[in-house]
Point group: C2
Chain length 527, copies 2
């Protein structure tokens, strides 16, 4: 028996993922759903024995005080960004989506939203200034000998802090300030790469390509004219003059990209981009008893679950009533994450909940359909567990996330403009439930996603520890971002070669003409 | 004891790499050193239980008759390419390298070499025609239900056969017909990506970038004007009109790229490119007794090994003598793979051999230096085992392979032009032996190369079996190569947007002018 125990111990030892020496990780996370992602990664890193320290603002509304797996350093600021984000941006979104704004109001709201975004970045920079000006804290951070800084570059402050502290830099990334991160790090032909927000796929008509190009250019211009300037000021002040903020953002060692190419359309990438899409997914755990009983009671018809994510818990009453009415007509049972008033039209088959164990429900064999808003987490979990989706996108990337499922025949999308018209919602739900292709397609995606040489979370851990072991990953970073744009695109070289070619042509023509004249002269003389 | 046995069996079962159902693989390999690479991969695939069938020409000079791990189908052809390659190309190379050709001769030889290359591709197409015209054989191949075709696209024939048989396609690749494969599959800014043959690194001056651009353009033009046409004729004949050969070459499921980013400079890549650089490297086995004794006799000074690869076994006598003379002056022992006459100046410390177990020697702790020609295999093995290199490049990519080590401080290069001048060779060898930085740098590269989440050979096997499991890897292939060049580069969209912008500007200017005139008129009237 002792021998067997030894054998099993050996087995465990061999199968345990190779752990690195305990590392010391500084984290500057973003808020909202970005934090949810980061938190999962931090928990995994902690379980591998690393020490984690988080820097955040005193007004942070997601990051908890010191937990068992990280310490927090809170920097005192006067205003947080949550209030701006929720009151000034999210409240406008449903109006936006429903098209219920007049043309002038639309323009006004758009400009207002953009200036709110600038304000948010300005508040972030104030937070960073407060941090960098705190001499004692900075001394403390320098003496803590961190192995790397982990950040989400949808905010620019983490990168500047890493450069200030001269630490190797790892991104947990999908967006880079104003746009999808691939657009910044790798050459991205706009002809077949759909810009998020365009509603395009990788197969576009001419006018879709025109629209795609415009949607690519507008944030670029916004970035150069406004967002960059906010951060550039901080760079100049704390890192010294001559550091271009945009170039700085590209100078990370590893980019842990929160997509994979089952979800995302294939596109050029870079050697230091590591795809960890679906790293948050895991096999389902058993459900709490009351949910398990409810789910089992659905019989052969199965269950539909509905959730619109962290931000949107309340919808306008007319929409809510229409959805409840549609659910009431179905033979399936429904679990609906809903926070507002109980809809008048709610059927007996529908269970309203404040919160649901989404991953565990999606992994339950009785779940037939997921009504989702299209946040990355939900879409990845639906793909992982192979549950078809009816999408009700609210804002940001949600429509485009759902589009990636729809384009592969695994989802149907309804917009807020049409959800309360006729029987749109009911028909969409019935189509996805009854047409087998949706389930077949999402399960094909699930098989592809699960068939990887290394699990996404293990990959993330490997590369973070790689950066610790080697003090960075310089050999995976290109020289591209050190070049000015005209050199990067070889404009100078092409102009030089064209000039040289024209010069040679000119000289040749002159020579031939001279010879010709000379011959003519001689001929005339001899005549 | 039975329990322990069961436990061990379980252990073995868990630790064995996940094997796929036995697959059926059709292979169309290239010859020469390319075959050596392919052979290693085939042996690994066979050991995982797959059936392997090779199609080659009856004049193939590398591929053995049926072995224990593959069957061969030989297609009768009149002429092989070996004779052309060795007599018309390789024989000219050392003259080329030594600069001993006159200017006119140089031009003549260059044109001659290029036309020989075209001739080789023509012979390959003849081989493919003979294969495709053999009705019985083709019927047989179709009935064999292969899971995929594996080929090296430095020849275009494998791709055409795969398309003809409608099989998923996997490349074991570094070169694609006329150029480095990345240049074809992924966007490659010539501003920081050195073209093989240019002798540039990823950090270039303006004139190096000019030279780089020219060396990028010339093969492109050669390809469009000559090489492509040879293959296009075969495509048109056997695949039907309207299939562009260049686009066809891009339509492979997986590209097993024989580099990694410890060796290669970082550059853009694609989702279906899998890096397997160093897949041929393995831990050293014990040496044969006579070699082990010779190596051990070197004492603290250690051993130098020298090999110039498969093609070059004989060098001009003056060079050989100079090298032997230099070796004789060293306290180290030397093992030299040499086939010609015994050099007159050979010292007692030097052992001439016909063949050497290169990988096992490089892995031996007594080996201090590798004098190599810079073939990919040798360079990868030196990196894997961490042995510094003195490079003596002969042709093709060898200078550039060695440059990648030199640029990282792990090698010194001598060209054939200078190897017999003064004490150049001796001094280079002494510098690399005595200056510790060379060893430190190559061992750093070795550590980086070995620190990967999955071993290169396992990665190759995984993706080949992935293609078997899913009937291809369509989700990793971009839409890029389906677009005409002007759409791919958005030229049409940019012209459209510029025209629209100009039109709007024009109308605005006209409107303002009209208003202005109207106001002026009114003012004059009222005056």
């Amino acid at each position: 028996a002792i021998l067997i125990c030894c054998c099993c111990a050996l087995l465990l030892l061999i199968l345990t993922p190779r752990a690195c020496q305990a590392g010391n990780i500084l984290v500057l996370p973003a808020e909202g759903s970005h934090w949810i992602n980061m938190d999962i990664l931090l928990e995994a890193l902690h379980s591998r024995g690393h020490n984690i320290t988080i820097v955040c603002s005193s007004k942070s509304w997601y990051i908890k005080e010191n937990t068992s797996y990280y310490n927090t350093i809170r920097v005192e600021v006067e205003r947080g960004i949550d209030e701006l984000l929720t009151t000034k941006i999210l409240s406008k979104v449903v109006e936006f989506e429903r098209g219920s704004l007049s043309w002038m109001n639309f323009l006004h709201t758009s400009v207002g939203m953009f200036s709110t975004f600038i304000e948010i970045h300005q508040l972030l920079c104030d937070f960073l200034s407060a941090l960098l000006d705190d001499q004692d804290l900075m001394m403390n951070l320098k003496e803590s000998k961190f192995d790397l800084l982990l950040t989400d570059p949808c905010w620019g402050v983490g990168t500047i802090l890493a450069k200030y502290l001269n630490l190797p830099l790892v991104y947990n990334v999908r967006w880079l300030i104003v746009q999808e991160a691939h657009l910044t790090i790798s050459p991205s032909p706009i002809s077949y790469i759909p810009i998020t927000g365009s509603g395009n796929t990788d197969k576009m008509t001419f006018f879709q390509r025109v629209n795609n190009m415009l949607l690519y250019l507008v944030p670029q211009i916004q970035n150069y004219l406004a967002v960059k300037l906010v951060y550039q000021k901080i760079c100049d002040k704390y890192l010294g003059l001559g550091k271009d903020f945009n170039q700085l953002m590209l100078d990370a060692d590893i980019w842990l990209m929160r997509v994979d190419f089952v979800f995302e359309y294939p596109r050029p990438t870079m050697p230091n981009v590591v795809y960890i899409g679906g790293f948050q997914c895991k096999p389902a755990k058993p459900l709490p008893q009351h949910l398990e009983e409810f789910v089992e009671s659905s019989g052969e018809h199965g269950v539909i679950i509905m959730s619109l994510g962290t931000f949107v818990s309340e919808l306008p009453a007319d929409i809510t009533n229409k959805i409840a009415e549609a659910f009431a007509k179905l033979p399936q049972k429904v679990i609906w994450r809903h926070k507002g008033d109980r809809p008048a039209t709610l059927g007996n088959n529908t269970l309203l909940v404040d919160w649901m164990p989404q991953n565990d429900l999606l992994g339950h064999p009785k779940i037939k359909l997921f009504v989702a808003h299209g946040g990355t987490n939900g879409v990845q979990e639906a793909m992982y567990h192979g549950v078809p989706v009816v999408g009700l996108p609210v804002f940001f990337d949600q429509y485009d996330n759902l589009l990636r499922l729809k384009d592969r025949g695994a989802a149907k999308i309804i917009t807020f403009t049409t959800v309360d018209k006729d029987n749109n919602f009911l028909e969409a739900v019935q189509e996805v439930l009854n047409e087998p292709s949706y389930r077949i397609n999402i399960q094909r995606l699930s098989r592809l996603h699960r068939d990887q040489p290394i699990k996404p979370m293990d990959n993330a851990n490997f590369w973070i520890e790689f950066v610790m072991r080697h003090g960075g990953a310089a050999h995976l970073r290109t020289e591209s971002y050190r070049l000015p744009w005209y050199s990067y695109h070889s404009v100078d070289v092409i102009l030089f070669l064209l000039t040289a070619a024209l010069l040679i042509l000119f000289i040749l023509v002159r020579l031939v003409l001279s010879c010709f004249r000379l011959c003519l002269k001689r001929k005339m003389k001899s005549d």
